[in-house]
Subunit: 237 residues, 2 copies
Amino acid sequence: MSDTSYAYAQVREAISQQIAEQKLTGNLPSERELCATYDVARSTLRQALGQLEHMGLIYRKNRSGWYVCPRKLKYDPMQHTSFLQYTTAQGFQPSTKLVEQKKQKPCKEIANALELDGRTSLTSILRVRSVDGRAVVVEELNFSNKHLPNIDKHDLSLSISVLLKNTYHHHNVLYDIAVESCCLFNPIAQYLNTYDGALGLKVTRIVRDLEGTAFEFDREYWRHDALMIENKAKLHF
Amino acid sequence: MSDTSYAYAQVREAISQQIAEQKLTGNLPSERELCATYDVARSTLRQALGQLEHMGLIYRKNRSGWYVCPRKLKYDPMQHTSFLQYTTAQGFQPSTKLVEQKKQKPCKEIANALELDGRTSLTSILRVRSVDGRAVVVEELNFSNKHLPNIDKHDLSLSISVLLKNTYHHHNVLYDIAVESCCLFNPIAQYLNTYDGALGLKVTRIVRDLEGTAFEFDREYWRHDALMIENKAKLHF
DNA sequence: GCGCATATTTGGTATGTACCAAATGGTGGC
DNA sequence: GCCACCATTTGGTACATACCAAATATGCGC
């Protein structure tokens, strides 16, 4: 049991319990109503709501109110199953929207990771992926034109993995993945219908061929409350 | 570049830049001083500090002040390298403190994961691990007495992996790991010298033998700003 | 019914104030 | 030189208030 010696903690526990007992579903009462209910100032209430948000129990949509979180999506970044595949397998309705595609020079971090000099061009796409109509992740994919000739000539709104397999014959690849918590700022926060400074999880992925040459660098910005990273493996001591 | 149309965002960016340029190291000026510097109210300043905290740039120690974060520890939960090993390899000074050891009945979640009924006993230890004198993770390890007979008779302040290998001959195991963001509450928050409701990363691990029988269930509560999860793997499409 | 302008509600931002408890720094006694 | 005590500083909690902008509900004209 958590500490309940403070007003915000009491409000937090009260709402938390209401959610656990499913007495609260869908959207919560307005902040001003909740203030009256628990007899606290709005800043105190918002502190409680903020913690429930960090716990992944509730979230805010635009400026319209607070809602109880749907269940989390389970995601194994080491598996090469597609977004479509693992979301539907878990009973979600996925959708993807390509926001932007451009050819550009790499930033310092990408140039370093892909061992490119600053002049080499990069094909980048930005897409927003949703489950059940809720935007959960913004993906930024960067492909090295040097290692994937003419990749910018293809339709990148289709499956990238199929393209890599069929056109570039990358059947076996090395994955190099990092996960860390982060802060979501505009414009990424806006794509995720959340606010400037919201909490997120950042997944960084470097994809290499079997010789170890990196040809792709991805950044995924997830809603922190939408995601559970899962890994399964066999190990020997 | 992030949105800077609001006061808190301007303060955030200003301090963020100071840190990036290493003009700020060690501890920050007091909140009241910073309020005067940037001419904002304390609550506005604290909003900015909170976001910098979420970004992993600064952290608070007890009630004594704000400090610039040290670099993150890289950790691959799928590797079976010990805490001692991977921390020293990254140039940190690790230490571990065993807080508690007890024999108890499993909670619902553990009973379910380890396929135990409510009567079977469980040997649990709680330990706090630090790098460079900073507590970074609270580990709760739970061992099934049924599958690891007399485990509570051993000294569990020593290396657990050595014990599993030499005494119980578990040379090959299956790992089942989940990572998600969470909120740290007392008393765990206190072990990590942080505050009730602080942001964290939760790593859950189920360990099985090669037949798939689970004998260990662990929960790790990490400071969100101390950790970067890393995974490397070879995949084929 | 439908579309559009308007009023209301809602969360987001911001200020100021007050008090508390823990941590820290200093001071004096031994 | 060490320790106990005290004053000060610091962040943590909590309140009340005000205004803004976006989202939503309302109602009118057609």
